[in-house]
Symmetry: C2
Subunit: 346 residues, 2 copies
Amino acid sequence: MFDNKDKSSTPLDKIGEFGLIKQLTENFKVYHKDTFKGVGDDAAVLNASKLQTLITTDLLIEGVHFDLAYMPLKHLGYKAVIVNLSDLYAMNAEAKQITVSIAVSNRFPLEAIKELYSGIKLACDTYQVDLIGGDTTSSTKGLLISITAIGEAKKEEIVYRSGAKKNDLLVVTGDLAAAYLGLQVLEREKQVFQINPESQPDLTKYSYLIERQLKPEARKDIVQILKDLKVKPTSMIDISDGLSSEILHLCEQSQVGCNLFEEKIPLDPQVIATCEEFNLESTTVALSSGEDYELLFTIDQKDYDKIKGNPNFTVIGHMTNKNEGTHLITRANQKVEIIAQGWRSF
Amino acid sequence: MFDNKDKSSTPLDKIGEFGLIKQLTENFKVYHKDTFKGVGDDAAVLNASKLQTLITTDLLIEGVHFDLAYMPLKHLGYKAVIVNLSDLYAMNAEAKQITVSIAVSNRFPLEAIKELYSGIKLACDTYQVDLIGGDTTSSTKGLLISITAIGEAKKEEIVYRSGAKKNDLLVVTGDLAAAYLGLQVLEREKQVFQINPESQPDLTKYSYLIERQLKPEARKDIVQILKDLKVKPTSMIDISDGLSSEILHLCEQSQVGCNLFEEKIPLDPQVIATCEEFNLESTTVALSSGEDYELLFTIDQKDYDKIKGNPNFTVIGHMTNKNEGTHLITRANQKVEIIAQGWRSF
């Protein structure tokens, strides 16, 4: 699905900005009636809405957030959209539109940028999101992508980081740490390749990890599942910077404490096996590694029966009084303070 | 107003992303009731609106769009906001919110980023716009700023590029080419400075040009003036890429032709004098130079009496049938085809 057989090369300065925008955006579908006017004027126009509008934005920089040595451009385009949509789903909202701005150095021909946009389009089609605008320019070094995503939700349905209460249960979707370990595997293979370009690595046993790193998904499904279950989380955040960092955000903004149980943290068998292989402590990785794009939320205890047994959800802790602090309860029943270990770009 | 006396220096990695965001955004005021939730969650939230929402975005890259050798950081922050607001005013809309994403290399200390944000804040205060979110990260080279601006307008008030009709008058606000000449003066001074750092240039006679380059304003006032005059343009665009390029956009999207009269193009006396000094043809500069952030629009002839004599407006031409083409009528009454000469970032 993600292969590019087209090896032709057209320099961007032969096309110009407006020709480029036309070529990149002409095949995008419009999914939402309220996208009144998309690409092609000074601004995009959205119809009036009875719902609240949500806005989020993320910046991805080559050499900081991604390495094109192992991140194919189509995957990068896909992931850049996912990162933003994840923030909207973390508000319990629907994603509707995106703007995409890119800056590229002259080492990228038209075909490379089209490949990037094919990933952006795949994400738009998969998540039913409309591309409504952007900016396209040259850079003095490398590639950067700035995406703004626009969503909507009923006012009473939006979930903030600040609503967690004492005794609420702390719940996480999916499993953690796989994206980070996928990155470690890819980094290692890059180094092997640099020494021996002939090596043919068998990455089958890391397939889940690599997919989580190269083609993450955002949990749009969770917003619908929670609606179907009639569960409104009291607080929610997406896990982009690591579990410990996100827990601290929820605790700080909700003015509560938290007990997190080590034995409850959901890990895929590939994560456990690869942690052993790399001599990493899986709990530490889950706490501090980013890019999982799972949702972390709190629910009132009375909602426990509604989510109990659902394979999407794992209860990993509960909220406490603020003055009790934020702790990990280890398998050995030790209480360790959680400190921010999240991924930092500085 | 734009001086920075504070010469202390705090490396960004001592503060971390969240500390940085807090420091940068804590003094921003909120001007609009419909800004329901700004910085501090996964996404910002805007109240439901009976009006249409407009979205525009622009990317500014060091070494491509600005040179910090003569662009003070506070001015850069101000200008980065202006560029985006101008796009909203060009739709005849009100600007309400912005998101600001920045990437900075480690050569920028906290104080530099604060200086940048002081310019962003000044623009927010001057134009009554709310900062509602963004992203802050490191870059491998230089500074880049990505801003998304959100506006609103009644559906029937929004002006697109596509509504110009044959016989409509072509009108421009303010005067043209000053920002480009300001840049030429600054580039020359930079070179002089590199040869002789002791030189004390007297830039008084270029004051208007330099101000137009370093502290441009967006024509929010025009949106109000047109409302007061009860004039709704048939099409409108802002002049960021040069008059010829913008005329071609209006003509292409409105499916009309145009006659532009050279003698009508409004130029400031400093522009004329500096063109002579630099041996430049002022009409060519006006046609091809960008960054004026004036508005170019078309009106029905019946509205002529309403704008006649208003110092903000100059009628510079009229629209024709599409098959008559797009022409400049020179002072010598020659007809020259207008081709895109606008500023290109590729």
